[in-house]
């Protein structure tokens, strides 16, 4: 089976658009690539519709924009994939896949 990228994911527009440089996806660190893959994988498994994640992503980014306000510096502003991770954690909890306590315990252990 030839796997194809889902345009609804690959071609999101506006603030939710995947960061690209000359078309290439930009992942600064492995965790960004991995959280991207996790989110897409669970959607492919049918655990949620892509829109359900996308809406949360847009909300996280909007919250970042609001909080940043007139702050001109970029250095403390959560990055795109930080917003993505926050949105994904919330989605996973909302879907009952795990509890916030399970996640924080596991995070502390690893």
């Amino acid at each position: 089976m030839i796997r194809r990228a889902d345009p609804r994911i690959a071609e999101m527009s506006g603030a939710a658009a995947l960061p690209r440089k000359s078309g290439e996806l930009v992942f600064h660190d492995p965790w960004e690539r991995r959280v991207f893959a996790l989110t897409v994988a669970l959607c492919e498994q049918g655990l949620y519709q892509w829109d359900e994640f996308r809406d949360r992503l847009i909300a996280e980014i909007a919250a970042v924009d609001q909080a940043a306000g007139t702050d001109a510096s970029h250095s403390s502003r959560p990055s795109y994939y930080e917003s993505w991770l926050a949105a994904f954690e919330k989605l996973v909890i909302d879907k009952g896949i795990c509890t916030p306590e399970q996640l924080s315990t596991l995070t502390a252990e690893l």
Partner: protein
């Protein structure tokens, strides 16, 4: 890199800059690792699926869009005119865009004019229609020799042009990306738009080869 080089690429995008300390990165790594191990333990994802998934999206762009644009221009003269006048708007008609402030210009090949595209300073490329640039396009030899000795470069790609053909080299920049509209090959009069699109190659749209009817 010189300052000139930095301005050459589409402008600073804060989302592309990294500002995390190693401590912050470790914390994020831990959160992702927690999710990953939990989901794998529950059998919801497999580790190798994740790797392949990321690769699919990293390599998803290809020149199929450009091929459709070319085929449409070949069968529809009015579309071709719109494409040559305002390529950004014309490709948007077919649903292709994402250039975000950059403009696309399409240059037409003819029996007397052969166009070639390069980005001499870096690797500016019309990715919404051509996908990701090939390694050779980004290489220093291609970037310098295309302007100094375009016929020599074309010869290496197997294209020998008659002296009567004017070779024009277009230098893409952050603001203007060029794509070549190749000549429609003879013997394709009976083909559908879809069949025509299959003939169009990325290299022909960069301008280092011509489109031919495959046997």
């Amino acid at each position: 890199m010189s300052t000139e080089h930095r301005h050459h690429d589409a402008g600073p995008d804060p989302r592309l800059e990294k500002h995390l300390t190693s401590e912050q990165t470790q914390s994020l790594e831990a959160r992702v690792k927690a999710l990953e191990s939990l989901l794998i333990a529950k059998g919801m994802v497999a580790a190798d699926t994740l790797t392949k998934l990321a690769e699919t999206y990293e390599h998803d762009l290809g020149p199929m869009n450009g091929a459709k644009v070319v085929a449409r221009a070949w069968v529809d003269p009015a579309y071709k005119q719109r494409l040559l006048t305002n390529a950004t708007a014309a490709i948007a008609e077919l649903g292709f865009g994402g250039l975000q402030g950059e403009h696309l210009v399409v240059v037409e090949n003819s029996p007397t004019v052969h166009n070639m595209v390069v980005c001499t300073l870096c690797s500016c490329y019309p990715w919404p229609v051509l996908g990701l640039p090939p390694v050779w396009y980004k290489s220093a030899p291609y970037r310098s020799r295309s302007v100094i000795d375009p016929r020599g470069v074309l010869r290496e790609f197997g294209l020998e042009l008659d002296e009567s053909v004017d070779v024009r080299v277009w230098d893409s920049s952050a603001e203007l990306r060029y794509m070549v509209l190749p000549e429609r090959p003879a013997g394709t009069e009976h083909m559908s738009e879809e069949e025509l699109a299959k003939l169009v190659t990325r290299d022909a749209m960069i301008g280092v080869t011509r489109v031919s009817v495959k046997s």
